[in-house]
């Protein structure tokens, strides 16, 4: 009897202990989680603080943790003191045009690769995978020589084409994944109703793959937005230089105006981070799809 009675008690005690352990574990996880988050945000927090530091406090020895006052004005004056507007427009043109080309090229290709089997299909997939893996950095001399031959050095077109060509693969993987997940019967029904293959793609498949399309657009745009090495190599005039290269030019000057550098950086970073968070769910599958295919 005694044994029987003690049993539920210990079980109750165990459960209480388990709950307490669970709470303790959650607390540890939460604290660790926020510490990790803080570590990852640190360079950007510092960026933010420097961007709003009054000009006469930027070169303070030793550095202050927090400036004496927040000069939000810096975000406005930066537009006047440097060719930021021009850099931003250049970046928008290059990233925007590259994204449009990637879409025009990858939508039909991804659709065909997802829907039909043909003799050289594997070879084509292989080429796409290779494009994803060949970073422009290791080939920048070749790219430079090619653009010399084509007479495209220091033009928007060169940067647009290189960005489109090298960042095409992600879009192909993501889109073909989405296209393949749409049952063929849906398309067949439309074709019986007299739609051509192209209008099926336009009216049925694309609207159903909207999340994939959005992911492809955002990813291509951001990658081109952040591109540096090719732009550094192929641009020599500020008129077509994108923001990433423009920023490093600020630093080349003898006295760096760090508050302006970082105000500009934040203008470039914030929208991109928001967009990236929006497509977070699909990123890994697009970047590693080639290895699962």
């Amino acid at each position: 009897m005694a044994i029987l009675q003690s049993k539920p008690e210990t079980r109750e005690g165990n459960r209480r202990k388990a709950v307490r352990a669970q709470n303790g574990k959650t607390a540890v996880l939460t604290v660790t989680g926020f510490a990790v988050a803080f570590m990852f945000l640190l360079p950007y927090i510092r960026m933010m603080l420097t961007a709003v530091t009054p000009a006469d406090e930027v070169y303070q020895i030793p550095a202050d943790y927090i400036p004496s006052s927040f000069e939000w004005q810096n975000f406005i004056t930066v537009w006047e003191s440097a060719p930021i507007m021009q850099y931003l427009i250049n970046t928008l043109i290059i990233a925007g045009a590259a994204t449009i080309i990637v879409l025009l090229v990858s939508v039909p290709a991804a659709y065909y690769l997802a829907r039909f089997r043909f003799r050289t299909r594997n070879l084509v997939l292989l080429l796409v995978l290779a494009t994803q893996m060949f970073a422009p950095t290791s080939m920048v001399i070749g790219i430079y020589r090619e653009m010399m031959t084509l007479g495209l050095v220091n033009t928007y077109l060169a940067l647009i084409l290189v960005n489109a060509g090298f960042y095409l693969a992600f879009s192909v993987w993501i889109l073909s994944g989405f296209f393949a997940s749409i049952p063929y019967e849906v398309e067949e029904a439309a074709m019986i109703d007299g739609c051509s293959k192209l209008s099926v793609l336009w009216r049925i498949t694309l609207p159903l793959s909207l999340p994939g399309l959005v992911t492809a657009i955002i990813f291509t745009f951001i990658t081109a937005w952040n591109e540096f090495v090719v732009a550094l190599t192929l641009t020599s005039s500020p008129d077509i230089r994108p923001l990433t290269v423009g920023i490093t030019n600020f630093i080349g000057l003898y006295e760096v105006q760090w508050h302006y550098v970082f105000a500009t950086s934040l203008i470039a970073i914030v929208p991109v981070v928001v967009l990236f968070i929006a497509i977070e769910k699909w990123l890994v599958s697009g970047l590693t799809a080639g290895s699962i295919k």
């Binding site: 959650t26 996880l29 939460t30 660790t32 989680g33 926020f34 990790v36 988050a37 803080f38 990852f40 360079p43 510092r46 960026m47 070169y59 303070q60 020895i61 030793p62 550095a63 090229v105 990858s106 039909p108 290709a109 065909y112 690769l113 043909f118 050289t120 299909r121 594997n122 084509v124 997939l125 995978l129 290779a130 060949f134 970073a135 950095t137 290791s138 080939m139 001399i141 790219i143 430079y144 020589r145 090619e146 031959t149 084409l161 095409l168 293959k197 951001i222 937005w225 540096f228 090495v229 550098v261 470039a268 970073i269 981070v273 968070i277 977070e280 890994v284 970047l287 590693t288 290895s291």
Partner: protein, 307 residues
Amino acid sequence: MAILDSAQPRKREKNLLKRFLAGPLPWITPMLVLIFGIVLWPVYEMVRTSTLDIGGSGAVRGSAGFANYLELFENPNLAGAVSRTFFWVISVVAITIFISLFLAQLLNAKFPGRRFVRYALIVPWAASVIMTATSFRWMLDGYYGIINRILLDLGFISEPIEWLGNADTSFPWLIIVAVFVSLPFTTFVILAGLQTIPNEVYEAARVDGSSSRKTYFSITLPLLRNSLFIASVINLINVFNQFPIIWVMTGGGPGYTTDTTTTLMYKLAFRSQDIGVSASLSVVNFAIVLIFVLIYIRASGFGRKED
């Protein structure tokens, strides 16, 4: 009759056109043009340039045979850059994978604010590496940098250090920054791998009385093998090609003391104006990347399918 005869070929032409439109070509040709024109042509240009004698102005003076390669191997900065590149790639990838295993485990657990932590981790991934590296360069400044201030206040150092002033102190920081920007992608790949492991596997292990450490090493880690492999190869390629961090923080200097083969290649072409020698180094670099790519392709099952 004549009318019929002339109608016949036109019909056949129409059929051909129809067949062409139904086939893969119109759908994938634009993509192939872009791949061949933008990605593969530079490979050819690179190899060709490495065998040319090119003057400082870019004018071709004739063939150089293997002279560029010989000159490259005589370059006094090559040996240092090669060994540094090895160390750079292996240490950055190994540290990144190790830390990412912890971070993925953390993000896979349930706790309040997990979403915020995920979003924080995305920031270095989305932000331009140039700008992240610029912030680190500013934080590491010997006079005005916040890192010296923090370390002084904590008593770790007794006087400010010019971190980026010499290779002994700057190279470790370059590695830290490279790990920092590689962690988000790696963590998310491992996290995706963790989330494919069905809960029943863990329940079965718990029923069997397996400790959580034992479960991790004998069940979780082996099941993550695929994700770890993918993350490692992609990171190897990315870190090998990493240019902006070094360029912004030290420019490969002082001198050539923090150069990897990637930054050395760039300096040879656009600082020393040795396009031919630089092209020969980029051919070597590209060949190394190609080996990683082939490993990746092989592992992804392309080779087997075509056998």
